[in-house]
């Protein structure tokens, strides 16, 4: 089960092992994994914040205050009942006999938790120079076959690791492993998309090497994955020519979220009435900047451009990491020379 999707409770499996980080109790309360990091809305230790007190008689009051220095929140609030605030209700005044309704400002993204995990994944990719791509499509578009051919073609040029997502079975991960690349299978159970938390865990198992390519093959679904950031550099949507030209109009969110569209199975065009220019036009209507590549895993059409695109992305990712490493090395050298200058004087 994913952080935001209530489906498939306790059914998410990574490499066959249950990923039981979440569960919902019978009373309806949900309990999540200890390492979930909550939003940072709680305290700004130095700044003014609201502290809510509940007395034994059930009355609640709050008063703004600041903390000097450290985060000392359990400060034995011995103000007793002479310290009563009546000015903090919605109208700023107290109406006798009425309970004080309070407004609590939240301003939190409903998908906030997933976005946090996605950011953490993104940081990991940046630190390790990993070029991560999220492959999305409807089931049967030819994602896995395309991926297998891609891995073969990149041998010697780039190291590729794969995270596979399906409701059930490890068939796809097995197919990938047959090419010699490493793969981890996530089974979502009832879930219809991968989320960042699942991907984070799979990454721990996969441990892709630095400066490599990570392909995340999402669950076959042209709707749901569009909303769930995994921390990838790009979403690539794969549309097969057997699917109909107007799919971009019918599933705009997915085509809007993708940077590249692979129009796949072009070897079948002679047998279909598929209008390629119209499909591209529709895709550009939804996403003017989308890059379209016509591909076929059978004939190899489009693979030159597709592989060049991947290589360019991988180069940029490792380049950024090298810059960071170089910058850190320079900084260390600066600090060391400062240190020796100071030590010399003392």
């Amino acid at each position: 089960m994913c952080t935001t999707c209530g489906c498939g409770k306790g059914e998410v499996k990574i490499e066959g092992q249950e990923h039981g980080d979440w569960h919902r109790h019978e009373d309806g309360t949900a309990h999540s994994h200890p390492h979930t990091h909550e939003g940072d809305h709680a305290h700004d230790p130095g700044g003014e914040h609201l502290h809510i007190h509940r007395h034994e008689d059930g009355t609640v009051h709050s008063h703004p205050h600041t903390h000097e220095g450290d985060h000392a929140h359990d400060h034995g609030h011995a103000h007793g009942h002479e310290h009563l605030h009546y000015g903090l209700g919605p109208a700023g005044a107290h109406a006798p006999g009425l309970s004080q309704e309070r407004m609590v400002r939240i301003e939190q993204d409903i998908l906030g938790k997933n976005n946090e995990y996605a950011s953490a994944n993104r940081r990991t990719f940046a630190e390790r120079g990993i070029f991560a791509v999220n492959l999305v499509s409807s089931p049967g578009s030819g994602k896995t076959a395309l991926l297998c051919r891609t891995i073969e073609a990149l041998k010697g040029r780039a190291s590729v690791s794969v995270i596979e997502g399906d409701q059930q079975t490890a068939h796809d991960a097995d197919r990938i492993r047959a090419t010699g690349a490493r793969a981890v299978q996530i089974n979502t159970g009832k879930g219809c998309h991968l989320d960042a938390h699942m991907v984070g865990h799979a990454l721990e198992r996969l441990a892709p090497p630095d400066d490599s390519v990570l392909m995340i093959e999402n669950v076959g679904n042209l709707v749901c994955p569009s909303s769930f950031d995994l921390g990838e550099a790009h979403k690539v949507v794969i549309l097969a020519v057997t699917e109909g030209e107007d799919k971009p109009l019918k599933y705009p969110d997915m085509f809007a979220a993708a940077d590249v569209m692979l129009l796949n199975k072009t070897d079948l065009l002679p047998y279909l009435g598929f209008n390629v220019p119209l499909c591209i036009e529709y895709a550009r209507r939804i996403n003017p900047g989308i890059r379209v590549i016509l591909t076929s895993s059978i004939t190899g059409e489009g693979f030159g451009e597709w592989l060049d695109w991947i290589a360019a992305g991988a180069k940029a990712a490792s380049g950024r990491r090298t810059e960071t490493v170089d910058a850190l090395r320079r900084r260390i050298a600066e600090l060391e020379s400062q240190l020796s200058a100071l030590s010399g004087r003392s």
């Binding site: 994913c2 952080t3 935001t4 999707c5 209530g6 489906c7 009373d27 309806g28 309360t29 949900a30 999540s32 909550e38 939003g39 709680a42 609201l50 809510i52 007190h53 509940r54 609640v60 309970s99 309704e101 309070r102 407004m103 609590v104 400002r105 939240i106 301003e107 939190q108 993204d109 409903i110 998908l111 906030g112 938790k113 709707v223 749901c224 909303s227 109009l249 705009p252 969110d253 809007a256 550009r284 209507r285 939804i286 003017p288």
Partner: protein, 113 residues
Amino acid sequence: MHEMSLAESVVQIIEDYARREGFARVKTVWLEIGSLSGVENEAMRFCFDAASRSSPAEGARLEIVELPGTAWCMKCSESVALGSRQDPCPRCGSYQLQVTGGTEMRVKELEVD
């Protein structure tokens, strides 16, 4: 879209805040939902009703504030209103649009007891 999973996330956010801020019951929940977010408001209400049972948000009134869709039209060099992703620019008819607003899904505020 996932109205049920979104509703469960809303309830989770509320439960987190209830623990932190010490309130037991929520009277009203304000959500900000962009008109291009793909969320169906009626489905959201139905799912919130189900998801909030046995939580501090049970019985709370759900207020959905719809945020308008906006886009930058590259032809007009102007920000325009956008009703749906399929729509062209209402001023010049071009599809060269970059969505700038209307995809939000946020818990804005709570009125608590």
